[in-house]
């Protein structure tokens, strides 16, 4: 940190970075489900700290003025907010492409109809498994899976397009073909097959989730075949766990280059996991404009571009392709967010960390640590 703070950080425009493309709006951390791989921070925000309707409307206005194209209304569970209708209506009025990312379990047909009328453009519905009991066990919510199947029908009844969000891992990866079939049966346009990414809650539960390299290869084969077979019928997005990749993912298209994320209390983050980097100070839309934050916020400028990189990133010819990988993963696994993401095969820690993960994958999975308010962890990760 010290060496960085001595020099003034370059801003977005000094890096030649344009306005962000999309806003991930975490309207609330409240959620009836307790998925142990939740992407929310381990310290969940309470209802009392959440932005008000008017504050969100102001954020939407600012996003449109900056030239953003899309908003993802997410959480937690965004439908816990009774003003979701107001927020969706406001997005439509301003011309933002509006996507609802939901577990579905709180929805009813009337509310969906209303949201559709207000201009909601797309629904992403999460699924924990295709097996009813296992899905409910993973989500920690009895009756959840059956409800989701109903919700998917209601989504199609009001002619809203549907994406099935399927998070896969060692405890459901054998149902991958069933996930794809489920998406077809539910008349979805798109299915997202995302392997668990290991930050926050998921990192605490890594041993319960991480697949073996063989399981992963098999899954990738299935997806590749389905993509060919279903071309033009079903769009399949696939995210592999980068633990087994050769190169790290170019996380968020590069830190602070394309996207921004807002948490329920109005802090603006370069990615949804950025709160796992303890030294980052986030600016808040309650105090500064979104545009100012994108341009100047230290949390963004610290890891923008390539100036901050140590070796081996600094001298790597892929440094402007993968941008050093994921800062949160570097933080979680090496203790320093500046380090090369250990997902990269060039990282000095790659073999050690991934041998450990592969070993976990070969042991019996431990019990889940469910995502709940007030869970206390004794040991730092």
């Amino acid at each position: 940190m010290d060496d960085i703070n001595k020099t003034k950080l370059k801003t977005a425009s000094e890096h030649g970075i344009q306005a962000p493309l999309a806003l991930l709006a975490e309207l609330s951390h409240r959620c009836p489900l307790q998925c142990p791989y939740c992407s929310n921070p381990v310290q969940l925000e309470k209802k009392t700290g959440e932005l008000t309707t008017d504050e969100w409307k102001s954020v939407i206005d600012q996003a449109v003025e900056m030239g953003m194209h899309q908003i993802h209304l997410s959480g937690g569970e965004p439908t816990v907010r009774h003003d979701l209708e107001d927020i969706v209506g406001h997005c439509t009025e301003k011309g933002l492409y509006t996507n609802l990312i939901t577990s579905g379990v709180l929805l009813n047909p009337d509310r969906l109809k209303k949201l559709e009328k207000l201009g909601l453009e797309h629904v992403q519905l999460s699924f924990q498994d295709t097996d009813n009991d296992n899905a409910d066990r993973i989500g920690g919510f009895k009756g959840g899976h059956a409800k989701k199947l109903e919700v998917a029908k209601w989504v199609r009844d009001v002619e809203l397009p549907l994406t099935c969000n399927c998070v896969v891992h060692r405890q459901n990866i054998d149902n991958l073909e069933n996930f794809i079939q489920m998406a077809l049966d539910l008349d979805a346009e798109r299915v997202e097959i995302a392997q668990v990414q290991y930050y926050g809650w998921a990192l605490k539960n890594r041993a319960a989730f991480i697949p073996t390299p063989e399981q992963l290869d098999h899954a990738t084969e299935i997806v590749e075949k389905a993509r060919v077979d279903l071309k033009g019928k079903l769009v399949i997005d696939y995210v592999i766990p980068d633990y087994y990749a050769k190169h790290p993912k170019n996380c968020m298209g590069g830190w602070g280059r394309r996207f921004l994320n807002m948490n329920p209390k109005g802090e603006v983050l370069p990615c949804h996991a950025a709160e796992t980097i303890p030294h980052l100070k986030f600016d808040n839309v309650r105090e500064k404009s979104l545009k100012w934050i994108w341009e100047n916020s230290e949390a963004f400028n610290l890891y923008r571009g390539t100036d901050w990189m140590p070796d081996p990133c600094k001298s790597c010819d892929r440094k402007e392709i993968d941008w050093g990988g994921c800062r949160c993963q570097a933080m979680a696994l090496t203790g320093d967010a500046k380090n090369t993401d250990p997902a990269c095969s060039i990282s000095p820690l790659h073999s050690e960390i991934f041998a450990m993960a592969a070993e976990e994958a070969n042991r019996a999975p431990p019990d889940f640590i469910y995502r709940r308010y007030g869970v206390r962890f004794n040991s730092p990760i």
């Binding site: 994406t163 346009e189 019928k233």
Partner: protein, 97 residues
Amino acid sequence: MTDILKINEKIKPKFPKHVKFRHNKARDEWVILAPERLVKLDDVAVEILKLVDGNCSVDQISQKLSKKFNAPEEVIMNDVINMLQDLSDKGFIEENG
């Protein structure tokens, strides 16, 4: 979902409900928006897509563009079909009717 669409001159293309062809005022650019997708378009694509309304056939779109840009219709039609096929394969275009 519908079966795979093969674009030909008789097809009347349209955007599926969840796909929006929009002008972004702040950026002054036309884009296609779909779930977690953003497609930036070149000027030719924008000209073609402005005529995609579910009523015009590929044939009619090509005729209009041929007149507008004073170019041979066969050449234009070829470009139109290729571009729409590409977008259709990605789920951004469907047939009306």
